[in-house]
C-alpha cells in the first residue's frame, strides 16, 4: 500500500513541472517585428506631452539588407505623438506603424527646454518604471529649441543621429571636458540625493531643423543643419534654472573629479603655451573648523605641452616648473570661477558639496539644513589647491621660430 502511494506521488512530480510550460514564449518578440527606438524626445504640449521617437529603419543601415532599398534611403524615421501621458504614446505607436516600439535600445533621451524648466520629475517615472529600457543612455536638454527638432536632423558621418548624439557626447566629455555625460540613472540619483543637483548637457540645432530632416542634409559637405553641444543646463532638483558656459563646465568637471582630458593655455613672455591635462584626480575633503564646514579640493594632474605659439624656450627645468605653477593657478582659477558663478547666479549646489558634508559629517549637515537651508553654499568656505606635473613637452624642445629668423 505504502509503495503504491509513493509511486503515485512520484508520478505526480512531473505534473508539478507542467505549469512551468505555461509561461513559455512569454514576451517572445522577433527582431523584425520590433521598431527600435533609438532616441526619445519629450516636449511640453498644451495638455500633456509631445513625444518624439526616432526609430531606425534597419534595412537602410546595412548594405546587406534584403529589403531592396539598400543603403539609399533615410536611416531613421521620426514619429510624433501628442499624448496626455508618455506611456500612451507607446500604445498609439501602432496606429501609425506596423511594428511595436522597443525601448531596450534607447541611446539618448532629449528633453525640450520648455519642459525642463517646468520640471521633469514626474515625466521620468515611466522610463525608470518600465523594464524595457536600459538605464545607461544619456540624457540631454534641447537648447533654445524643442526635442522634436533635435530628433529630426539627419547626420552624415554616423548615419544614425541617435548614435551620433551618444558618441559625440561620450567623446567630447572624455576629450575636452566641455560637456557632461549624464545617464538617466545618474540624473535620477542626483535628483534624489540631498545636497546635490543635476546638470545636463544642452544640444542645439545649428541651421534650419526643417532642412535637417531632409535626405539632402546628408548629401552635402556642409549640412544645412547640424547637432551641436554648446552649454550645460543647471537644474534645481528637477527644474532647469539656467545654463553654464564652456569654461564653467570645465571648472565644474574639475571640482567633481570627472576630467579626463582638458586643454588650457598659459601666457608666457607673450607667447602662448598650450598645456593638455592627460589624467587628473580631484580629492575632496571636508573639515569642520569651529563648527563650520570647510571643503578642501586638491587636484593632481599630469599634463603634456602640446603647442607653443611664439619663441618660448622650454629647455630649462625652471621653465617647466614655471609652467607647472601657472597651470596649477589656472586650474584653481577655473574651479573658483565656476563655483563663484554658481553661487552668484543660481545659488544651486551642483557640485555635491552638501552631499560630501552629509556623508562625512551627517550631524553638521543636519544642523546646516536647519540653520541655512537655502544659503549654505554661499556661506561655505572652499579651499582650492592643485599640483601639476608636466610629463612631456613633445618632440622638440624649443620652437623652430628662432631658427627661421637667423
Amino acid at each position: 500500500m505504502y509503495t503504491r502511494i509513493r509511486k503515485a506521488l512520484t508520478a505526480c512530480i512531473p505534473l508539478l513541472l507542467l505549469p512551468m510550460l505555461l509561461s513559455g514564449c512569454w514576451e517572445r518578440k522577433e527582431l523584425n517585428e520590433l521598431a527600435f527606438v533609438l532616441a526619445l524626445g519629450l516636449d511640453k504640449a498644451e495638455s500633456g506631452y509631445k513625444v518624439s521617437m526616432q526609430v531606425v529603419i534597419p534595412s537602410s543601415i546595412t548594405s546587406q539588407g534584403a529589403g531592396g532599398s539598400g543603403a539609399g534611403g533615410v536611416p531613421v524615421v521620426t514619429y510624433n505623438f501628442t499624448v496626455p501621458t508618455i506611456y500612451e504614446s507607446l500604445r498609439k505607436f501602432n496606429l501609425v506603424s506596423s511594428r511595436s516600439p522597443y525601448l531596450g535600445h534607447i541611446r539618448v533621451l532629449v528633453i525640450g527646454e520648455e519642459l525642463a524648466r517646468e520640471g521633469v520629475g514626474e515625466t521620468l517615472d515611466v522610463l525608470k518604471r518600465s523594464r524595457e529600457p536600459r538605464m545607461d543612455f544619456y540624457v540631454m536638454v534641447a537648447h533654445k529649441t524643442t526635442a522634436e527638432n533635435i530628433l529630426k536632423v539627419l547626420t552624415p558621418l554616423d548615419r544614425l543621429p541617435a548614435n551620433k548624439l551618444f558618441n559625440a557626447l561620450d567623446k567630447s566629455y572624455k576629450i575636452s571636458s566641455k560637456t557632461v555625460a549624464v545617464t538617466l540613472d545618474k540624473f535620477i540619483e542626483d535628483l534624489l540625493y540631498e545636497g546635490v543637483n543635476p546638470v545636463l548637457t544642452g544640444v542645439e540645432v545649428q541651421g534650419d531643423p526643417e532642412a535637417g530632416g531632409e535626405k539632402g542634409n546628408i548629401e552635402r559637405t556642409s549640412p544645412k543643419a547640424r547637432l551641436h553641444y554648446d552649454s550645460v543646463a543647471v537644474f534645481k532638483k528637477d527644474k532647469l534654472i539656467g545654463w553654464m558656459d564652456e569654461n564653467e563646465t570645465v571648472g565644474y568637471n574639475y571640482v567633481i573629479d570627472s576630467v579626463t582630458k582638458n586643454t588650457g593655455h598659459i601666457k608666457d613672455n607673450g607667447s602662448l603655451v598650450i598645456v593638455e591635462g592627460l589624467s587628473s584626480t580631484t580629492r575632496r575633503k571636508v573639515k569642520i573648523i569651529g563648527g563650520e564646514p570647510h571643503i578642501y579640493l586638491n587636484v593632481e594632474a599630469v599634463c603634456n605641452v602640446e603647442e607653443v605659439e611664439g619663441s618660448d624656450k622650454l629647455d630649462t627645468e625652471s621653465k617647466i616648473k614655471y609652467l607647472e605653477e601657472e597651470t596649477e593657478e589656472r586650474i584653481v582659477a577655473r574651479m573658483k570661477q565656476s563655483v563663484e558663478n554658481m553661487k552668484e547666479r543660481f545659488n544651486v549646489d551642483i557640485f555635491g558639496f552638501g552631499q560630501s558634508i552629509y556623508r562625512s559629517h551627517p550631524r553638521v549637515w543636519a544642523k546646516l539644513q536647519e540653520q541655512n537651508k537655502e544659503g549654505y553654499l554661499q556661506a561655505m568656505t572652499i579651499h582650492y589647491d592643485a599640483s601639476v606635473t608636466i610629463n612631456r613637452i613633445g618632440t622638440i624642445d624649443n620652437s623652430f621660430l628662432d631658427d627661421i629668423k637667423e
Binding site: 509561461s23 527600435f36 529589403g67 531596450g104
Partner: protein, 502 residues
C-alpha cells in the same frame, strides 16, 4: 545437431569426414584432403580455404609429410603414436596441439587452423597456420596528429596486442582473452599492468565481460554498450581509440584496455569527462600550447552546445543584450525571413545534419558535386532567397566547425544531441530555458560513473592534484603521480626525490 558439435571425435576417418561435411552444411570452402603414406598410414587434412596460409601448408606441412622417411617412421606405430610422432618429429611449422572433442575441433577449424587426422585415432592435430588478407598497419583515421606516431590499430587482434606490447615492454603487462558471442565466437582481450591497475577494477571488467550473453560481437561498440554503467545518457562513459599510443598511455595510468577482434577501435575503461578533450598530441608537444589547445577545445565544446540556442534566446527574448549596432544589423538581415528565429535555427541545424549524414555515405566521386550543392544551398542561395538570415548561417557554421575540434567523436555526438534540446528550451523560455538546461545537464553529468569512477573527476569530486593533467597539462617533469581517480596500486610515476641540478 547440437549434440553432434559437442561429441567426441570418432576413430574412423570416414565418419569424421562425413560428420564434418554435414555439420558445415556442405560448405564449399571446406577443403578435405586424404593422404596415403606408405602402406598403413592414412591421413586426412581439413581446413577452410581462405583462412589459412596455403603457401605455408604446401611448402612446409605437405612437403614434410611427403618425405620418404616419414612413412617409415610412422609404419609401425599405433594411430595415437603416429600423431605424437608427427607432432614431435615431422612437422615443424605452426603452433601444434592435440585435441579430442568436436567442439574445439570445429572452433579451431573455423578460426584458421589446419586439422590433421590419422585413421584409427580419436584425436586430431591442430596446426596453426592462420593467414588471411589483412589491412596493414596504417595511419589512424579518427584521431590524427601532427606530431606523434602515425600507426593505428588494425582489424587483427594479434597485430593490435603486438602494437601495445611494442610500446610497453614489461612483464607486468598482462593479456587475457575470452570468446564472446555464441555464434561469432569473437576473441576479446583485456590488457592491463598488473602492478598498477586496481585489482577490483580488473575483476569488475572481467565480470562484466563474462556476463555478456549474446550471439554476436562484431565491433567494440557492442561490448561498450554491454558493459557501460548506464545506457541512459548521451555521454560516452567508455573511451575508444584506434591509436596504440593513446591506449598504451591509458594502460600506464592504470586503466584496462579491451581489444576486440575485427575492429581497430580499442576500449579503455574507466574514463572521465575531461579525457575526451585530450588528444595524444597534447603529451608530445610543449605543455603551454597543450594547455591552450585544451582550453580551445572546451571553448569549442561550449560553442557547439550553446551557440544556436544562445542566438535564438537573445534574438527573441533579450534584444537589449545585443549591442545596438549589431541588433540593427541583425534586424536588417531578418527583414525578409518568414520564420521565427527558433524555426530558422532548427531548419538550419537539420539541413546541416542531413548534409553531414549524406557526406558520410556519398560515394567519393559524387561527393564533390554534392558538397558544392550543399554549400551553395546553405550558404548563399538560402540567404539570397530570404529564406534564412546570414547571421544564422554563421552560427550554424561555427557550431559545425566547433564540433570537429573535440578529439573524440563520441563527445561531439553527445553535444549534437543536446544542442537540439537546448535550442528547444531557448526558443521556449529564452536564457532562462538555457539555464534550466545547463542545470539539468550538470546534475546529470555529476551523477554519471564509469566503472565506479565519478565521471566529472577531478572537477566533480574536486582533486587539486589531478588538475595537473585535466584542463591544464603541466610539463612532464611535474606529472609525478598517476591520476588518483583510477585508484591505482602505485601512484608514483617517477621518483619524487629532488632532481639533480646540472
Amino acid at each position: 545437431m547440437k549434440d553432434a558439435v559437442n561429441g567426441e571425435l570418432s576413430c574412423r576417418l570416414e565418419d569424421n569426414d562425413d560428420h564434418l561435411y554435414k555439420l558445415l552444411g556442405q560448405s564449399s570452402d571446406l577443403v578435405r584432403k586424404r593422404l596415403q603414406l606408405g602402406e598403413r598410414t592414412e591421413l586426412a587434412i581439413f581446413y577452410i580455404d581462405g583462412l589459412i596460409d596455403t603457401q605455408l601448408l604446401h611448402n612446409s606441412i605437405l612437403y614434410s609429410l611427403q618425405e620418404g622417411r616419414v612413412s617409415g617412421l610412422l609404419e609401425e606405430l599405433a594411430p595415437d603414436g603416429k600423431i605424437e610422432m608427427l607432432r614431435k618429429r615431422v612437422l615443424m611449422a605452426g603452433d601444434l596441439t592435440v585435441i579430442h572433442d568436436y567442439k574445439h575441433f570445429v572452433h579451431d577449424l573455423l578460426s584458421g587452423n589446419v586439422m590433421l587426422m590419422v585413421e584409427g585415432s580419436a584425436s586430431a592435430l591442430r596446426i596453426g597456420l592462420p593467414g588471411w588478407e589483412d589491412r596493414s598497419v596504417s595511419e589512424p583515421s579518427s584521431q590524427s596528429v601532427v606530431r606523434g606516431p602515425m600507426e593505428g590499430f588494425t582489424e587483427n587482434l594479434r597485430t593490435n596486442t603486438a602494437l601495445i606490447r611494442r610500446k610497453i615492454k614489461d612483464s607486468q603487462l598482462w593479456l587475457e582473452t575470452i570468446q564472446i558471442g555464441r555464434v561469432t565466437q569473437t576473441s576479446v582481450s583485456i590488457m592491463y599492468l598488473s602492478h598498477i591497475a586496481n585489482e577490483e577494477l580488473v575483476q569488475e571488467v572481467k565480470r562484466r565481460l563474462n556476463s555478456i550473453d549474446t550471439d554476436s560481437i562484431l565491433e567494440s561498440g557492442y561490448i561498450e554498450e554491454f558493459i557501460q554503467d548506464t545506457a541512459a545518457t548521451p555521454f560516452p562513459t567508455i573511451y575508444n581509440s584506434d591509436r596504440p599510443d593513446t591506449i598504451a598511455a591509458g594502460i600506464l595510468e592504470g586503466k584496462v584496455a579491451i581489444l576486440v577482434d575485427g575492429t581497430p577501435f580499442v576500449l579503455l575503461a574507466p574514463t572521465i569527462f575531461v579525457s575526451f578533450f585530450q588528444s595524444a598530441e597534447d603529451y608530445y608537444q610543449r605543455a603551454d600550447i597543450s594547455t591552450l589547445l585544451r582550453c580551445v577545445r572546451f571553448l569549442a565544446f561550449f560553442i557547439t552546445l550553446f551557440a544556436p540556442a544562445f542566438y535564438v534566446a537573445i534574438t527573441t527574448y533579450h534584444q537589449e543584450m545585443i549591442p545596438t549596432n549589431l541588433v540593427i544589423s541583425l534586424a536588417a538581415q531578418r527583414e525578409t525571413v518568414p520564420f521565427p528565429a527558433f524555426i530558422e535555427a532548427l531548419l538550419m541545424e537539420f539541413t546541416y545534419e542531413i548534409l553531414r549524414e549524406a557526406g558520410v555515405r556519398i560515394p567519393k566521386n559524387v561527393g564533390q558535386a554534392v558538397s558544392i550543392v550543399g554549400t551553395l544551398v546553405i550558404g548563399q542561395a538560402a540567404v539570397a532567397a530570404g529564406f534564412i538570415s546570414s547571421a544564422m548561417v554563421i552560427i550554424v557554421s561555427i557550431t559545425a566547425i566547433s564540433s570537429f575540434v573535440i578529439p573524440e567523436a563520441g563527445m561531439a555526438i553527445a553535444a549534437r544531441i543536446i544542442r537540439f534540446a537546448l535550442i528547444g528550451l531557448a526558443g521556449f523560455m529564452g536564457l532562462y530555458g538555457i539555464l534550466c538546461g545547463v542545470f539539468l545537464l550538470v546534475l546529470h553529468l555529476v551523477s554519471l560513473r564509469s566503472f565506479g569512477v565519478p565521471y566529472m573527476s577531478p572537477i566533480g569530486p574536486f582533486r587539486a592534484a589531478d588538475l595537473k593533467d585535466s584542463i591544464f597539462r603541466l610539463p612532464w617533469p611535474l606529472l609525478k603521480t598517476r591520476p588518483m581517480e583510477n585508484k591505482t596500486q602505485n601512484l608514483q610515476r617517477m621518483n619524487t626525490s629532488k632532481r639533480e641540478e646540472p
